[in-house]
Symmetry: C2
């Protein structure tokens, strides 16, 4: 009955113990459609009476970020949000209305990064691109032409 939760498999593959709190956190994250904040997760855990403490929640999140299956986003409001994702390098597009996220690949960004290296004289080691807008569903609902 357990669907092959990618978070659980990542934990397993990395040799971490599959404890009840971790499985519960993985399940909570898997049920989220878009991004979520730490307190969303804490609320959900409380609603389901999972008995997971905040410290455990943050520990699990840290672990999942380290494994690359969850990523931390900084929303325009300054809030920190988390989003489940594939471990490969990619970027997130976040719907400002419903919170849905989509992962996108390079899309020509590495060319732009190369150009920025030339412009700035820096050697770029890492970058983070976050995009905000309206998803297909919200666009359709508002009737705004894309």
């Amino acid at each position: 009955m357990d669907a092959p939760n990618p978070i659980v498999s990542a934990l397993d593959r990395a040799g971490y113990r599959l404890t009840a709190p971790r499985l519960a956190v993985a399940d909570l994250i898997a049920t989220h459609d878009g991004h979520f904040t730490a307190s969303d997760l804490a609320d959900a855990a409380r609603d389901r009476q999972l008995g997971i403490s905040r410290a455990t929640l943050f520990r699990a999140l840290d672990l999942l970020i380290e494994l690359g299956v969850v990523e931390r986003l900084d929303l325009p409001s300054g809030e920190h949000a988390y989003v489940p994702c594939a471990p490969a390098h990619h970027h997130h597009v976040v719907c400002s209305r419903c919170g849905r996220t989509a992962e996108v690949g390079d899309a020509g960004l590495s060319g732009a990064v190369g150009e920025i290296e030339r412009q700035s004289g820096f050697r770029i080691d890492a970058h983070r691109l976050e995009l905000f807008g309206l998803c297909r569903h919200c666009l359709a609902r508002t009737g705004v032409p894309s």
Copy 2:
């Protein structure tokens, strides 16, 4: 003796009062070479015995962000930092070693954003690109070839 501080002119242009605490904050920011955190600024204000309260500092920062002369960065460590900048749309390259920042223009990014719109089906309204690496000076100091 007052150099034409761009932050001060922006405040003036926007019709905000040029009060002593605001001028002091503008001056503190202008003396910073790269990015700084709110607590850096608070420390600097305390060192210079400017008598600026934390609330005032945050209010001034908010104002300057609203005017577009200061921008908030999210460092890879999760810290919030601030960086003085021009009001036009641009991106920041941050030196991971010394904290120096450089502003870069579009550099072909808008093409990548268009491609991401096509890939994801989202309508992108805003994006934020932050780049981290080593600046010219730190590269020279470490002898790493760019």
